[in-house]
Amino acid sequence: MNVRVPVSRGVPRWGASARVLIRLAWVRTMSPLVLLGTTGLLLLPLLFAVLFAAQGSLSGDPVDFLVRRYDQLVGALATPVLALLLGTSAFSAEREDGTLVYLITTPTPRWWIVTVRLLWAGGLAGALSSLTVWGAGAIAAHGSNPEGVTSAYTVAVFFGGVAYAALFTVLGLRSRRPLVTGLLYVLFWEGALSGTFQALNFLSVRQWMLAVTLPLTTARAERLEGVPSAPFALVAAGVLLLAAIRLGARALDRLPAERSGS
């Protein structure tokens, strides 16, 4: 009882605090649901690639196959859903059980807490998406990179993973039902609406992702007509990232108060 606690107050330690925030996110996020969803989403494009490769020369053009699979299975499904699972999980467990209070009652700036968690979710979603793109390309094209399509989509889905995760991390902090809201966003905004109204392409992360592939591959460029330019996509994603950090930090400032107890 007589042990004295050393009083040693330093300034925020950026690297060390980032490691702590990522470690806490990791132990709180990796639930069976997230692991199952992640594994399924990653394996699906690979399964298609295996089937394509198994049919040999009967399969057709690997570039055409890869572009369609990357667009439909990765860009439209795996990347946004992975980002949704990881982004909304970045704070959700701590928000639900109240342990978020142990993060925010510290001098660590709240924008830094949000930035680290957002980049963790985005980096993981992007890296896993890139991995599945690269794996599917390697299987379907027998290790080659025809017309640069695999490398272009590897870069694009990483970019898309980060942008989507930024959006969904903020959603996880500000919405009561982030998973449902995020799914509706992916299905209706990114799917139905931006596919119908070309003007919405400028506000669609999926279209930004496709835009990033433009300067990196010559494969089926006509498919990409109507999407924004790559510089626009990069600037728009940068604005989204900054806005997400700001809105997330504000959400941490105004968390719904705990009313249980007294």
Partner: protein, 316 residues
Amino acid sequence: MTRSDASSPAPPLVFDQVSYWYGDLVAVNAISATVQPGITGLLGPNGAGKTTLLQLAAGLLAPASGTVAVYGEAPALNPAIYRHVALVPAREALPGALTPRQFVEARATLLGLADVRGATAAALALVNLEREASRPIEGFSKGMRQRTKLAAALVHAPTLLLLDEPFNGLDPRQRMQLLALLEARAADGTAVLLSSHILEEIEPVASTMLVMVAGRLAASGDYRTLRRLMTDRPHTLRIRSSDDRRLGARLLSEPDVVAVELTTEGMLVQTTDFTQLAHRLAPVAQASAVTVLAVQPTDESLEHVFAYLVGDEGRP
């Protein structure tokens, strides 16, 4: 803006006409109080607004009206205060996959401490958790979780410590240890604001009490004054006997009995001196040849005690 500073001449915590409400529900209503170094008890029944008041003090909520000042600064949207302030929330939840050492180290890192391991070891020693420090928290009892939370709060030696129902789940020995720990911190100059809904829990250590009822400050001051206010009020007992009418008539002649009311479930006896009536009941019943079947206080719940304090006599 000046930096939060525990060495500042400003008091550790000042509430000035602070109110807060959730929608239409007023959780805290125009509370003014000052918390000085030492232990201050925050007493009140469940739903009185204690947690909200602590959250206002910790800067997690901003007052709807009035001001909160921690060492002279508004704590809301001011994370710098956490160099000197720690909150131990009432909720038990902790990251179960971590060990107490990992959890406290995480807090120490986020608090910007230079010697994370040293501070963690010292904090775990303070709460007697060294032996369990490497076990995952998920298998911990309530008491051990409470001690883990305390270690996480004490790791940076805060000078203002806010504790929300810290005795929940602790056995008597652990309570004694916690009280001793808090007394030691208070002796070192730490201001401790300690909430509870049980007077007896905090009475031994709290030199000052704030009593909240329905969001209002019902009473404040020295605990002896509050104790007297609580015991000097009229008490009502429900007594069942073999002949309520005869016993009631005899009891009415007792000097401290104010009123007797016969009901279908026994009689309600109101007295100004509960102890005296308890001593006199058996002889009176014996003299009346009546058998007492049951004696039950009807207004001993904390809510009744606090409700009494809201009356004019109890106001600070």
